[in-house]
């Protein structure tokens, strides 16, 4: 009986936190997403918020774009971080590999906002890159490198790298070097070793890294807003606009739920396609 009581005491903060800050607001948002003003200006139950999403082209196109770019960002992040993680764990000696891991972490001690401004200083029309390209005579007049999809994706990949590289490093550390040597000894080329031995072995790490990166990218507001500019709409900006600019909380809530459903669906499909197990990937 006493054991049961201590369990409840320890669980209480967690349950309160989950209930008050996650469940309750979501329930409220869920209800208001199904409400809309009628012609008389009264709140009534309605599906019109969700209807608006499908009828207004700009909404679902942004939605689709956001999903595609989030997937692309996840893939690019993996492609960039895998060689780094492999190099740190398998090529470098134990002494330097710790130092290099710290070097990877250092930029993330600064807030995301500061890092993004750093990129903007480098990339903007009067920025560092343009200045030196002009100096070297490679270009005649400054190029605007900010406010397009490419720089936005680059910013998103940069922001996400840490969340991919850490699980990759930890699962690569578990891979015994002699497995790689055994495959090499049995006649495998380097490419085959990566494809048939290394990737399958670290798949749980890839899965957990990808889930985190995908979720963070999909729900990112800062980077698309600052680096993407007006031409690179992100779905979170639509939500923001509804809540803050249009004061249409009902519409915003509906968009929020659509984003939740979308991310869950994509992760579910991703796990299905790669035959991975969520609990194994997160353990």
């Amino acid at each position: 009986m006493a054991g049961r009581l201590t369990l409840y005491i320890f669980l209480a903060p967690v349950l309160l936190w989950l209930f008050l800050l996650i469940v309750l607001p979501h329930l409220d948002l869920f209800f208001i997403s199904f409400q809309a003003e009628n012609d008389m200006g009264d709140m009534v139950w309605s599906l019109s918020n969700y209807q608006a999403f499908f009828t207004e082209k700009i909404y679902w196109l942004t939605f689709l774009r956001t999903a595609m770019y989030a997937i692309l960002t996840t893939i690019l992040t993996f492609i960039i971080t895998f060689p780094i993680a492999f190099y740190i764990t398998k090529v470098l000696s134990l002494k330097v590999s710790g130092f290099f891991t710290i070097l990877l972490l250092v930029p993330f001690w600064v807030s995301e906002l500061v890092r993004i401004y750093g990129w903007m200083i480098l990339l903007r029309e009067s920025g560092v890159f343009n200045h030196y390209l002009m100096e070297l005579g490679l270009i005649d007049k400054p190029i605007e490198m900010l406010y397009n999809d490419i720089s936005m994706i680059m910013g998103l990949v940069y922001t996400s790298m840490l969340f991919m590289v850490v699980p990759l490093i930890s699962s690569l550390e578990g891979l015994d070097d002699s497995l790689i040597e055994a495959a090499y000894d049995l006649g495998a080329s380097k490419l085959v070793i990566i494809r048939d031995i290394v990737i399958p072995y670290i798949m749980p790490g890839i899965t957990s890294g990808s889930i985190v990166v995908f979720m963070l990218t999909l729900g990112n507001y800062l980077t698309p807003n600052l680096m993407g500019g007006k031409n690179s709409l992100w779905f979170t900006e639509q939500i923001y606009n509804q809540f803050i600019a249009s004061f249409n909380w009902n519409q915003g809530a509906a968009f929020g739920f659509l984003l939740l459903v979308l991310s869950t669906l994509i992760i579910w499909i991703g796990l299905r396609v790669t035959r991975q197990n969520l609990s194994r990937a997160l353990s």
């Binding site: 015994d176 002699s178 497995l179 040597e181 055994a182 495959a183 090499y184 000894d185 049995l186 006649g187 495998a188 080329s189 085959v192 048939d196 031995i197 399958p200 072995y201």
Partner: protein
């Protein structure tokens, strides 16, 4: 018969440390060759050079008369059984075994046929679809061997693969490995620090110490005619004593506690030089009946170390504190011996070897 492997003046340096120092040997086709040495003697470095994971600093390695220097491991006609076997955990038994064949672009039908043949051969016919973590230690061992043998290598290299097994299984696998090697006729090069593994299985054994080969010989010769003091000490058990040569014809040595022994000099030893005298526990005769060609001395029993057929007598030489081990045959004749007894023992002159 031709040689499958020839190693010539092989040297490998790691910075200032010479791990393998001018090693020469050849392995005949179809034979079981072991490299035996204490840990850190350079045997793993030597094996990794033959497998291709390390390049020698100088010297040559020839497999079937072709130099393999500069050839990467995936293109060498040798396969290695790793110390911890290194089976691929994400594949089942069949995928593990067929991994090498797939790299050679062998057709699926041919792969299926060969996999079932080799599984039959290693005694695991129904295990094709088992996962690696479902196998016992001995079964993993056999899968690892099957995975390498299916590629029909010129030489199979084995890096202490029995080290992780428990005693009973190790004894059993020793005999199995030897039988398997005779059946398939592949040349085995086996490295180990366990002398019993090397002696039981091998046709020839090389004893390695500090990066050099001390002696290459048949297991029996290594035991009866050790070429150096290290080999005498390392192979089997031995009592060793510091001694001085007191006469060369007949060869006699004087121990530091005053006893004089007729002995056999294994190297040329001049009168007055210091040497080491080795006496094997099983060459000591308890209560000898005759005294011809025998060094006799008295001992006081300290303890009987019972170990079944390996039972030993721990004694000190009379009037000294020098300990000596003698084999104690378990045939009831010596059951009366107990600590504190005084015994006469003898050693045949031939069984006393000096270096």
């Amino acid at each position: 018969m031709s040689n499958d492997l020839e190693v010539e003046n092989l040297v490998r340096d790691f910075a200032a440390f010479r791990a393998v120092d001018n090693v020469n040997f050849e392995v005949k086709q179809g034979s079981f060759f072991s490299i035996l040495g204490p840990s850190g003697c350079g045997k793993t470095t030597l094996l990794r050079m033959i497998a291709g994971f390390l390049e020698p600093s100088s010297g040559d390695i020839r497999i079937r008369e072709k130099s393999v220097l500069g050839v990467p491991p995936n293109l060498r006609p040798v396969n290695l059984i790793f110390q911890h076997l290194s089976l691929f955990p994400m594949m089942d038994v069949k995928e593990n075994i067929s991994f090498g064949l797939k790299r050679r672009k062998v057709s699926q039908a041919e792969i299926n046929k060969q996999v079932s043949t080799i599984l039959e051969r290693v005694g695991l016919p129904d295990y094709a679809s088992k996962q690696i973590n479902q196998l016992s230690g001995g079964q993993k061992q056999r899968v690892a061997i099957a995975r390498a043998l299916i590629l029909e290598p010129s030489i199979l290299l084995l890096d202490e693969p029995l080290g992780a097994l428990d005693l009973k299984l190790r004894e059993q696998m020793k005999i199995e490995l030897k039988k398997l090697q005779q059946e398939v006729g592949t040349t085995f090069v086996y490295i180990t620090h366990d002398q019993s593994e090397a002696l039981v299985m091998s046709d020839h054994v090389a004893v390695m110490n500090n990066g050099e080969f001390e002696q290459i010989d048949t297991p029996k010769n290594l035991y009866t005619h050790p070429g150096t003091g290290f080999v005498a000490d390392f192979i089997g058990e031995n009592n060793s004593f510091d001694a001085t040569v007191s006469s060369t014809d007949p060869f006699k040595v004087k121990l530091d506690m005053g006893h004089e022994f007729f002995a056999r000099a294994m190297t040329s030893l001049a009168k007055g030089t210091n040497c080491k005298l080795y006496i094997r526990p099983e060459s000591i005769v308890i209560n000898p009946q005759h005294t011809e060609n025998l060094n006799k001395f008295g001992v006081v029993v300290k303890n009987v170390l019972f170990d079944g057929a390996n039972t030993k007598l721990l004694a000190v030489i009379e009037n000294t504190s020098r300990e000596i081990m003698a084999a104690l045959p378990q045939d009831k004749r010596f059951d009366h011996i107990k600590p504190g007894d005084k015994l006469d023992v003898g050693v045949y002159n031939d069984s006393c070897t000096c270096f």
